[in-house]
Subunit: 193 residues, 2 copies
DNA sequence: GTCTATAGAAAGATAGAC
DNA sequence: GTCTATCTTTCTATAGAC
């Protein structure tokens, strides 16, 4: 075998990385396998040695994107719970996230796109969302957990909605106000006020 | 001329109505002109007598959808401001909206889809969003307007995000909890608590 | 595993008849 | 204005060489 298992793993990861970026930016249907493979430095024919179909790639890319999003990579900092929360919320609802300067979160970038996709893709999205909510639950001040156990569902929906709407808007001034308002409200909610 | 201006207007509206439904459910790229025209009771060739291109149809369908959404049609009820707000929030964040039993709101159904579309489409989306925020501002208790003038941006983002995420999720139990949490938070925010 | 070549299908847009 | 027929492009997926 002229190609090592490690080589295959690397190629696979390159494909997923390119797919993540392209799908997030343009949506599933607007990205061709040609584009994905070109981004990964290969050609069309090699694709099917790694994934059975474009749909399967989509589901895996959603999972992959979640692992590489800013939120997860910021997880292991050792500061207080409140500043963890503030940092995640502010980083998520930042203009650089909307503009894709940082690694985009598929929950916000692909929400309506996933809704009209295969069950497999929606399952992947659901798992990623549950992971995000669980993360928030783990970092939540214990005194607030009992009073409103599902509050983090609304907070995450606010964050995802804020970014998703911001991307769709044409008016940059409005986008800044929207993001600012979402940050403010998210902080308020997280502090139980 | 064998066809009256009224006839043309009717045909045009039929096309827009079908397009609105199909685009919302499946996204722009996953809907063909064939499908739209079949839904409107015509065939492909007649399309270009009404719209210059598929993209132009998309932009107009977004505007059209906004005029026909539940929110606007509920506008002229003569009850108190608070119950107007409660009714709109609860209607929007209802499972029947997610399941498309009622006329879907393009802001929630097409958010990420629009983000990767032509400037023309994004402009239409922006206008519709501004209209929604303005509507909320008009129904807002005056005493709250000064303290946080941009609060309605976050409230609408929460509503849109709640519906968009709900559509993408595979877990119906989680969807119900998510919608419930969003309704609860939206009410709380609207009352200035 | 990756390449080039190609089969086969789908869809946007146009042409011309009625 | 609406129809059928067609041009043209694009894209998924497969086949076979290396």
């Amino acid at each position: 075998m002229p190609y090592s298992a490690e080589h295959k793993q690397n190629s696979r990861e390159q494909i997923l990385r390119g797919a993540m970026t392209l799908f997030s930016r343009k949506g599933f249907a607007n990205v061709s396998i040609d584009e994905v493979m070109a981004e990964a430095g290969m050609t069309r024919g090699a694709f099917y040695a790694h994934f059975k179909s474009k749909s399967v790639l989509y589901a895996e890319a959603v999972m992959f994107a979640a692992l590489n999003s800013q939120i997860v990579t910021q997880l292991n900092a050792d500061d207080t719970e409140l500043s963890w929360f503030a940092r995640v919320v502010d980083g998520y609802l930042d203009i650089s996230h909307v503009d894709e300067t940082v690694s985009p979160c598929p929950l916000a970038f692909l929400a309506t796109d996933v809704a009209s996709s295969d069950p497999e893709v929606r399952r992947a999205y659901t798992e990623v969302y549950k992971g995000l909510v669980k993360l928030f639950d783990q970092h939540r001040p214990p005194r607030l957990k009992k009073s409103d156990p599902d509050l983090n569902l609304a907070i995450t929906a606010l964050m995802i909605g804020g970014v998703a709407v911001s991307r769709a808007l044409h008016d940059k001034t409005l986008v800044k106000k929207l993001l600012s308002s979402c940050r403010s409200v998210a902080h308020r909610l997280a502090q139980g006020r």
